[in-house]
Structures are given as structure tokens and as C-alpha cells.
């Protein structure tokens, strides 16, 4: 790879002969701009290659398979493209899983938001030292494998586990929520909470504290100040956190599999079943396509909102 510098014009510069400075002619500027954009392209080339190899091409393959037909022996005929697998998405069993996945992901996002907001506010209003300690605490779970942490929850929520013991001690009987939707939501909230805390913290930390005081000074109660001043100003964080939690929750596979008991609670498990067990690749591919489209849309919203000043 060779980078060519723009040709240096010869001849006397604007400062007269002998200054030794190149003259800044329009041609020189254009050449410099061309060299600049060429350098920019070369530097981002690896990213483009990566994107094409590992995203665009696989995505194209998924689209192709979603339009194919499953033959009687469990193989896939690529000839004769049709929309049959998309029609199947409207069947009650598939539709229910789709809706349930969206619903669980939304609930997870909402719970994360409600739990993370006061916590993020607390962190953001501490002194810098305490702030950093708390942020490290938020990130500590990442030091352990995600799978291991999910199995830990399985032990906690299991029939002989501490969760049941605690609920019994509280006088509400032995609650065994393992392999229920509640367990899945709990696991997802646990897993993705940091993705909500961090952007919320960043957004709240940026808000000038005197704005809150101005709200109180202008006759707003604490609650009114929250709704009218704090929340609108932390909206970029709320949006970023919600998308960062919603997107992986919607496509979650490990947590519903381990804590939901593998009953195809969510889309991820169902897609795996289509590819590996039912051998219905077109249906699996069409579901994957829908899932990826939702995620891409959410991500686009995120970047759009991030670029705009709220």
C-alpha cells in the first residue's frame, strides 16, 4: 500500500520568490482534499471489509434462505423463491413467540430503566472518587462469563435455592420461579442492567445541578422537577440505555434457554430449533430476518437521536 502525497507545485509562492513556501493554488487544495479522502478511505477499509464479510454477506444469505422452500426430507431447495416462510410468521404458534419476545424485551427494558435511573442519579451526584468505585461495581459482573452467571441464577432460583428460602422466610411461601417467564425477565434484567446504568449515568452526570435547583426555586416540587427538568434533560441517556437493553433482550438465547427451561420462550430458542431440530431453514431464516430488521431499526434510531442535540 502506498500513500502518495499531493504534488508540490513549483514556482514562486505568494510571498514572492525565495520564501520556499508552496503556493496555495486551487489545484493544490483540490489535490490535498483528494489525498485526504483517499487516506480516510484506506484507514476505514478494514472496517468495511469486516462489515461486508461478516455482516452484509451473511445477511444476504439469510435473506436468500428465507425465500427458499423446505423439501420433504428436511433439506432446502433454493430454486423457486417464495414468501411462504413469511406467511408462516402469522401462524398462532410463531406469532405468539414473536409477541412474547417483544413483550419480554420491553418489560426487561422498563424494569431496567426504573431500577437504573435512581441508581445512576445516585452515582452521578457523588464525589468523583465514590463515583468511580460505584462504576467499577457496576462493571464487576462482566469479569465473569455470562453463561456461568446464568447458571448461578439457576441455582439461586432452584427448588432448594436461596430464593425459595427467602420467600418462605418472608411468609409468602416457597416461590419457585425457575423456568418461568419471571425467571427469564429477572435474568435479562440482571444481565443487561449495566447497559442501562452507564448511558444514564453519563447523561445525568452532564446535567448542570443548578438546573435542578432552579426548578425548585421556581416553585416546582421534587417530583415536578424530575418530570419537567431532570427526565427531559436525561432523555439521550434513557433512549440509549433502552435500545442497548432492548436489542440484546429481544434476541436473547442463553438466558431464556437456561432460566426459561428451553421451552422456546423467546425467539432466539425458536430460531435454533428451526435450524437444528425441525430442519426448517426458511422459517428460521425469515425469523432471523425479522429480528435483525427490528434491531437495525432500533440502532438507527439510536444513532439518529445521538446525532441530534436534545
Amino acid at each position: 500500500m502506498t500513500l502518495t502525497a499531493p504534488p508540490l507545485p513549483t514556482g514562486p509562492g505568494p510571498g514572492g520568490a525565495g520564501t520556499g513556501l508552496p503556493e496555495v493554488t486551487p489545484e493544490f487544495e483540490r489535490a490535498a482534499a483528494r489525498a485526504d479522502s483517499r487516506r480516510g478511505f484506506l484507514m476505514s477499509l478494514p472496517a468495511y471489509v469486516y462489515l461486508v464479510l461478516f455482516f452484509t454477506i451473511p445477511f444476504g444469505i439469510v435473506v436468500v434462505y428465507s425465500l427458499a422452500t423446505r423439501n420433504t426430507i428436511g433439506g432446502t431447495d433454493l430454486a423457486g423463491w417464495n414468501l411462504d416462510s413469511y406467511r408462516r410468521l402469522a401462524e398462532p404458534i410463531v406469532r405468539d413467540i414473536l409477541f412474547r419476545s417483544v413483550w419480554i424485551a420491553m418489560l426487561t427494558t422498563l424494569i431496567c430503566l426504573v431500577v437504573a435511573y435512581p441508581f445512576s442519579y445516585f452515582i452521578a451526584t457523588r464525589t468523583p472518587t465514590i463515583r468511580n468505585i460505584l462504576l467499577v461495581f457496576v462493571m464487576i459482573p462482566f469479569w465473569t462469563n455470562f453463561l456461568v452467571r446464568n447458571y448461578a441464577w439457576r441455582v439461586i432460583l432452584g427448588s432448594d435455592g436461596p430464593f425459595a428460602a427467602v420467600t418462605e422466610a418472608l411468609g409468602v411461601g416457597r416461590q419457585e420461579i425457575l423456568f418461568t417467564h419471571s425467571a427469564v425477565i429477572l435474568g435479562l434484567v440482571y444481565g443487561y442492567l449495566p447497559f442501562m446504568v452507564l448511558p444514564l449515568y453519563a447523561a445525568i452526570e452532564r446535567i448542570d445541578g443548578s438546573l435542578i435547583e432552579a426548578g425548585r426555586d421556581l416553585y416546582a416540587s421534587g417530583a415536578q422537577t424530575f418530570w419537567r427538568v431532570l427526565l427531559p434533560l436525561s432523555m439521550p441517556g434513557v433512549l440509549a440505555g433502552s435500545i442497548l437493553v432492548f436489542v440484546p433482550s429481544l434476541g436473547a438465547y442463553v438466558t431464556p434457554q437456561i432460566l426459561g427451561g428451553g421451552k422456546s420462550t423467546m425467539l432466539g430458542s425458536y430460531i435454533v430449533v428451526q435450524f437444528l431440530t425441525a430442519r426448517n431453514w426458511p422459517l428460521g431464516a425469515s425469523l432471523s430476518f425479522v429480528l435483525m430488521t427490528v434491531m437495525l431499526t432500533a440502532t438507527l434510531i439510536y444513532f439518529r437521536a445521538g446525532g441530534r442535540k436534545l
Partner: protein, 356 residues
């Protein structure tokens, strides 16, 4: 008709932050309709005092009254005061108009009433036509006006202003000083104005409270504070002062540390360490021995001449001490230059004796 009850009354107010005593047993009464300045160097507790009145801090000890009502523990939204914050603290997600309407909306004032009041407040600060702009589309001076309107629209009983002109450049600041003063007369609301700029305090206030280290050192009109500073700090902080250290050696007489004795009336016991303060513009410069009879005078030598444009400052040394003499720069008269032997004199009543 101003009320006879003080607008703000602080009674032995102390505020501690851990080990820091930000406000130290302050007693202060601010009259209804007054333009009151809290003046002092950075960190002296001005902002904290203002925040105590606003309800953004609560006193550690002491009592706080607003028009006779005990408010020491009320939250800010339940006090009849509004604040113009140091950095304006305009809500960035609202237009100028929405900012101004905020307080009225929070108090559930009817829509029909909000609209004309917001319009009047915006007109009061000359911001017509800017209603739909957001704070980041306004200049510093314009933001300042919106912040003023946002506070005044609520017709507070007391308006608190924390260095409101601090962020403006000199020309704008001077214009705003006059405007703010005129505005205060027009609305008749008590203003409590925090500043570290003594010139600003002298120019704008009915009365000034000088603070240092959390204590209120002196309260008085600008004239009182300037002519009769209560102690060395006030004398030094307000305007320019010659501070001549010495000791009281007799009735109305002080012997300076260089051995020269001068007349200086005070009611301080002999033996007390004091400083004699003399404003540079109160001192007069004469050719050697040319002082008027009834003046106090010292003989010395011009050490340095500083040209200020409209005035000249002569630094005159006499026996290892020195006095700055300010004289207006008028044409004519004998030019005086460094090294000349001169006599400095002043009216005996123009010196003040202060203790530390």
C-alpha cells in the same frame, strides 16, 4: 408603601459544611424595597448566605425570616423568593418564553393569566422577539435578561442575584448595572445582590454588607463603608486606601511605625495597634512646606509617578513608609516628577483609624 417588617432577617445564622464554617453567626436585616449588596472576596460565604435565603441550603443554627415569617426549614418552592443564578441556569430544553413561564405553570396560575404576565416580563427586560429562542441561541447578556424575567415574572417578595453580571464583558456589565438598578426601582422588589466587585457594589446598592471568612464585617451605605471602614479588611477591600500602621499614643494621636506622630481622631485606648487609613484622592500634594495651616502634613520625596490617563498617582515616601496621592490630570500646574521633595497634606477628618 414599603413594609416596616424587614424583608429578610438573619438572626445568628451559621452554616457549616463539615469543618468549613461558610457562614459564621451572621446577623442582618434587609429592609423592604432595598437594593442590598453582599460584598466580599471569593470564598467568603456570599453565595452560601444567598442560598440560605433561597432555601437551597439550610442553616446549621440560627433563625431566618422573610417578612416576619420563619422560613429556615421550608424548601425553596415554598418561599416567596426567586434566584438569578450565577450561570443563569436557564433550562436548555425550553424556549425563552417557556423558561419565563415555568414558575407560573408550577404554581398552577391560569393560562389566561400566564400569557400577559410572561409577555410583560419579557418586555420588562427588552427581550421582545426572542421568545422562541432556546438558551443556546442567546448571547450571555440575553440569557441574563431571560433569567431576570424568569425570576421577576413570579413577583417574588425578594429577588436574589448571585454575581449576575460576572460573566459579562466590561462595557455590557456597566450598562447592565445601570439597567438593573433602574429595574429594581421600577418593580420595587427587594434585591439581594452578591458580588466580589466593590465598584459594582458601590455603584448600585442602597446598602452594602461586607463579608470575609464567613463573617459579616460591616453593613452600611456605600458612603459609610467608604469613608468610615469598620476595620482594616474593609478599608483595604473597598476602593484604594493608604494603610499606615501605628499605635495610639494619646488622645486623637497616632504614632506611625516610622516614628512620625500624626493627628488621627479615634476612641481607641492608647497602646492599641491600629492602621490609619487615608484615601489617595483625599491627600494633596504641595511643593516642600506648602501645606495649608489646618491640614495634617508630612514631608517626603516622590518615589514614583503612575499615569492613569484621567489621573496621576504619586507615591511619596517619608521615613520608610509611603503614601499614594491621587491627583486629577488637569492641564497647568508645576509638573512633579520622581525625586522631587514634596509635602503631602490632608484634612484631619479625612483619615479613619481602624483595627485589624
Amino acid at each position: 408603601m414599603p413594609s416596616a417588617v424587614p424583608a429578610v432577617g438573619l438572626h445568628r445564622i451559621t452554616k457549616r459544611f463539615g469543618d468549613v464554617v461558610a457562614v459564621d453567626t451572621v446577623d442582618l436585616e434587609i429592609a423592604d424595597g432595598e437594593f442590598f449588596a453582599l460584598l466580599g472576596p471569593s470564598g467568603c460565604g456570599k453565595t452560601t448566605t444567598l442560598r440560605l435565603i433561597a432555601g437551597l441550603e439550610f442553616p446549621t443554627t440560627g433563625r431566618l425570616r422573610i417578612f416576619g415569617d420563619e422560613v429556615g426549614t421550608l424548601p425553596p418552592n415554598r418561599r416567596p423568593v426567586n434566584t438569578v443564578f450565577q450561570n443563569y441556569a436557564l433550562f436548555p430544553h425550553m424556549t425563552a418564553e417557556e423558561n419565563v413561564a415555568f414558575g407560573l405553570r408550577m404554581r398552577k396560575v391560569s393560562k389566561a393569566e400566564i400569557e400577559p404576565r410572561v409577555r410583560d416580563a419579557i418586555a420588562l427586560v427588552h427581550m421582545e422577539g426572542m421568545e422562541q429562542r432556546r438558551p443556546d441561541q442567546l448571547s450571555g447578556g440575553q440569557q441574563q435578561r431571560v433569567a431576570l424575567a424568569r425570576a421577576l415574572v413570579n413577583s417574588p417578595k425578594v429577588l436574589l442575584l448571585d454575581e449576575p453580571l460576572g460573566a459579562l464583558d466590561l462595557k455590557l456589565r456597566e450598562a447592565m448595572q445601570l439597567e438593573l438598578k433602574a429595574l429594581q426601582r421600577e418593580v420595587g422588589i427587594t434585591f439581594v445582590f452578591v458580588t466580589h466587585d466593590q465598584g459594582e457594589a458601590l455603584a448600585m446598592s442602597d446598602r452594602i454588607g461586607v463579608m470575609d471568612g464567613g463573617r459579616l464585617l460591616q453593613v452600611g451605605t456605600p458612603e459609610e463603608i467608604y469613608a468610615r471602614p469598620a476595620n482594616r479588611f474593609v478599608a483595604d477591600f473597598i476602593g484604594h486606601a493608604n494603610l499606615l500602621d501605628g499605635m495610639v499614643t494619646g488622645p486623637d494621636q497616632v504614632t506611625l511605625t516610622n516614628g512620625i506622630t500624626i493627628a488621627a481622631p479615634s476612641n481607641i485606648q492608647p497602646g492599641g495597634h491600629v492602621a490609619v487609613t487615608l484615601r489617595p484622592e483625599q491627600a494633596l500634594l504641595h511643593p516642600w512646606g506648602g501645606a495649608p495651616e489646618h491640614h495634617t502634613s508630612v514631608d517626603g520625596q516622590v518615589e514614583q509617578v503612575t499615569y492613569l490617563g484621567n489621573a496621576l498617582i504619586y507615591r511619596v515616601s517619608f521615613q520608610w513608609m509611603h503614601i499614594d496621592v491621587r491627583s486629577e490630570n488637569r492641564p497647568g500646574g508645576d509638573p512633579v516628577s520622581a525625586g522631587d521633595e514634596v509635602t503631602v497634606s490632608w484634612e484631619p477628618s479625612s483619615v479613619a483609624v481602624v483595627q485589624d
